[in-house]
């Protein structure tokens, strides 16, 4: 299966992801049964759940994209292709390409750019066109210098260098004593931030190749891929990719941690991997790049970071290296008015609004579980721009319509913080309880914005790990954006009409 995709043979591609697994698997089976001459390829998901199951039919440098395909329809598509035809009439899109780089001109697949996502839904998960690892083994300095020169930043809360220089993390690991490990942190339990899962299900070979390239660049002896124990399809595909990838002596281990939000935090990921029977965060500094897995220097990257590194190495000229955060960001759009979770890729200088099809929303929570609440998505997708707008950089945009109450929403996120923290440090463990209580006080007539802000400040600035550091953000940004709406609750009124019954 590896790298053998002759463009000349007509091919049917069926995108199978965990979200649509049963339906897509039935489509795949139907296509395989019907096929005589056409090649049928199982690919990973495209990122657009609303279109699933997706089938692509390719012949003569043209590809038709078919959405919501039934097994019967799949059979017909195979038969049509067997006759040398493409069913262009009812296609979701027709693309003059046999490379899958951009899969449509309209709809979710047309949003943003598809660089890291280029082959999601197109290539077999274990297929790898070009190996960055091989290149880096020959010239390890090249990748190190290029990544340093470009100033690439880590992606996702689970990365060892979230919004920070990747190259500096590598340098620290290289300077530290011990044999370095590269950890691929693919344990993201939040379904509203789906970029890592998408890459693991669709492009595991690229994720592994990226990890092996980093291993070569930092002279690591081992790569450990850390997954969520519930992500079975990702696990299966990663293991298949491990079979087909050329590790050149680097050990590759695939392990899984619990399906808990905290298990994605970089040091709790290490704790889980060391067999801890209870998860709590480690103190830092020193961070994992100095003292990580079993005390060894450990470079922790998310699949998103690795995809970014590969995309950069493949086309460095397309990266605006003078930017504070060059490259692109994967963003999963979910919520009201969104037909299904959609993961898209935006260049970091593109406004978030580009990722969102409708403008019919009251507010958005940007940046994952502890993202920031905003009315406007007119904010570029770069880390400094998002942080400046008090939003989160975790790749998630959740949309909420007028039937959502900002206070109730902030309260639900504060409760999540209260229930799901690891329990180690006072600002997060106790602060989240008080945050919930102060929000509850609003319903009892007492809205104390300065107390809420004071507490939020201290929780954000004195908590040990990213969980507590981010936890108050939904609350503070809700106050920033909807102060009057929140204050109305103190007078017994919920302007959205949501909280009346609980009052």
């Amino acid at each position: 299966m590896v790298g053998t995709e002759a463009a000349t043979t007509p091919a049917i591609r069926v995108a199978v992801g965990s979200a649509e697994y049963d339906r897509a698997a039935a489509v795949l089976e139907a296509a395989r049964e019907a096929a005589t001459d056409v090649r049928v390829v199982e690919t990973g998901p495209t990122g657009a759940a609303a279109l699933a199951p997706v089938v692509l039919a390719t012949a003569d440098d043209r590809t038709t994209v078919h959405a919501n395909v039934s097994p019967d329809r799949a059979r017909e598509l195979v038969e049509t292709l067997d006759d040398g035809e493409l069913a262009t009439d009812d296609a979701h899109a027709v693309v003059e390409s046999d490379e899958g780089v951009s899969m449509a001109e309209t709809g979710p697949l047309a949003i943003g750019q598809r660089r890291a996502l280029a082959r999601c839904g197109w290539a077999a998960p274990a297929a790898l066109d070009e190996s960055l690892a091989e290149r880096t083994r020959d010239e390890p300095d090249d990748l190190r210098e290029a990544v340093a020169g470009a100033g690439l930043l880590g992606r996702g809360r689970g990365d060892g260098h979230t919004d920070e220089s990747i190259a500096e993390g590598w340098a620290t690991a290289r300077e530290s004593d011990g044999e370095t490990v590269v950890v691929v942190n693919g344990n993201e339990s939040d379904p509203a931030v789906d970029g890592d899962r998408l890459l693991l299900e669709s492009r595991p070979a690229e994720v592994l190749d990226g990890a092996l390239a980093v291993a070569a660049a930092v002279e690591a002896t081992d790569v450990v891929v850390y997954l969520n124990e519930d992500d079975e399809l990702a696990a299966q595909r990663v293991r298949e990719a491990v079979e087909s990838v050329d590790a050149d002596g680097t050990g590759i281990d695939v392990v899984a941690g619990p399906d808990r939000y905290i298990a994605g935090e970089m040091t709790m990921a290490l704790e889980a991997m060391e067999g801890a029977d209870r998860l709590e965060a480690r103190l830092r500094p020193p961070g994992p790049s100095e003292v990580g897995l079993y005390g060894r220097p450990t470079v922790v990257h998310t699949p998103r970071t690795l995809a970014q590194i590969r995309a950069f190495a493949a086309a460095p000229d397309e990266f605006e290296t003078s930017a504070a955060d060059p490259g692109s960001r994967l963003l999963t759009v979910t919520g009201d008015g969104v037909a299904g979770p959609t993961t898209v890729e935006l260049a970091t200088d593109t406004a978030l609004a580009e990722a969102v099809a409708s403008s019919e929303y009251k507010m958005a929570c940007v940046g994952g579980r502890f993202g920031g609440i905003t009315r406007s998505l007119d904010v570029p997708a770069s880390a400094p721009a998002l942080t400046g707008a008090r939003l989160g950089t975790e790749g998630g945009i959740e949309l909420f319509d007028g039937a959502t109450c900002a206070l109730e929403f902030a309260g639900s996120r504060a409760k999540f913080a209260r229930e799901k923290n690891c329990g180690r440090c006072v600002p997060c463990r106790e602060g989240s309880k008080q945050l919930v209580d102060l929000l509850r006080d609003v319903y009892e007539g007492q809205f104390q914005p300065s107390e809420l802000r004071e507490l939020s400040r201290v929780v954000a600035e004195s908590s040990t790990c990213e969980f507590g550091q981010a936890a108050p953000r939904p609350v503070t940004t809700a106050i920033d954006t909807f102060e009057r709406e929140i204050a109305a609750h103190a007078e017994g009124r919920c302007p959205s009409g949501v909280c009346t019954e609980t009052n």
């Binding site: 281990d253 830092r284 005390g295 690891c422 463990r429 309880k433 004195s462 040990t464």
Partner: protein, 316 residues
């Protein structure tokens, strides 16, 4: 110990099979303390810092608080969970209370007890942000504390009480934990040591004293979020069913009235001159207790001498 994934068709292991280069002390290896393996947070080399305008030199292994102590700048810090007595190398820093926050030019607000001292660092103890953080965090500790000092066995020798007095806490912002319906029952099962979890600040000192100093492997941290609590490694619900040998070290290091020697539970006393764990707990208190002729719990007896009848095990 690996997480159990039974019932899954193709379950993955949770622990990678890669080299663990760390030397393992053979005894503590299988203790399940429930706590993270923190990195060594001390400085790697000697350093020179500026603390509130004063130049300070500290040695290897130093954290910022060592520099503060040099010039007495730690006076304004509660630094509640910081343990600065014997066995400091085996107890802490846990760095959970965050009442030791200071401002640095280099890294913003940091916990002084667990942040490595760095050469050239500029530290301020009295910035508005640092004072606010210490004050809020101390109040957060109190918010989860059953503050009934008058009936508490540690009254007069309690580090939380001292900290609150020194910080001039009059009315804690978030109140105190005073909802009797939510109190956890006090564990009075052991004739030697009482546990009142409603007074526990989760500083982990007892766990470290039990595992790293006494190498007994009885206590641990369990649960998460609001359910985080002190528990027993053998899964017991009560102290008496744990493998406790009643050495008393946990009660000695406990900063609050959470772990108290039974004789002191309701005594508003101050420490006796010459008080040590040896003379107070193992012998004196145990002597007149007929249910259990030595201070080890029955479970400890079971564990150590599986064939013997309960209570007959020697205390060695």
């Amino acid at each position: 110990m690996s997480t159990d994934h039974t019932g899954r068709s193709e379950s993955l292991p949770s622990v990678p099979s890669i080299d663990d280069p760390r030397p393992h002390p053979p005894l503590t290896e299988h203790f399940n303390t429930g706590t993270a393996t923190d990195p060594d947070v001390g400085a790697r080399e000697t350093s020179s810092l500026t603390v509130d305008g004063e130049e300070v030199n500290v040695g290897e292994e130093a954290t910022i608080i060592d520099a503060l102590e040099e010039v007495g700048a730690d006076e304004d810090l509660s630094a509640l969970c910081y343990y600065d007595r014997e066995d400091t190398d085996r107890i802490g820093p846990r760095s959970e209370c965050r009442t030791c926050m200071v401002e640095t030019d280099e890294h913003g607000l940091v916990p002084s007890c667990s942040h490595p001292a760095e050469d050239g660092m500029t530290v301020r103890t009295n910035s508005t942000e640092a004072e606010e953080a210490r004050s809020v965090n101390l109040d957060l500790v109190l918010s989860d504390h059953n503050l009934r000092c008058t009936t508490c066995g540690k009254n007069g020798r309690c580090e939380l009480q001292d900290a609150a007095i020194e910080a001039d806490v009059e009315v804690p912002r978030y109140g105190v934990f005073d909802n009797r319906d939510e109190y956890e029952p006090i564990d009075e099962s052991s004739p030697f040591i009482q546990i009142d979890r409603n007074k526990c600040i989760l500083c982990n000192r007892c766990v470290e004293a039990c595992n790293d100093v006494q190498v007994e492997g009885v206590l641990r941290i369990e649960g998460s979020g609001p359910d985080t609590r002190i528990g027993f490694q053998n899964g017991a619900d009560e102290m008496m069913d744990s493998t406790c040998v009643s050495c008393g070290h946990c009660a000695t290091v406990c900063p609050t009235g959470s772990l108290v020697e039974q004789d002191y539970t309701d005594a508003a006393t101050i420490p006796l001159p010459g008080f040590t764990q040896e003379n107070s707990i193992g012998k004196t208190i145990g002597e007149d207790y007929d249910g259990q002729p030595n201070p080890a719990t029955p479970m400890k007896g079971n564990q150590t001498y599986e064939d013997d009848a309960l209570g007959e095990a020697d205390d060695d």
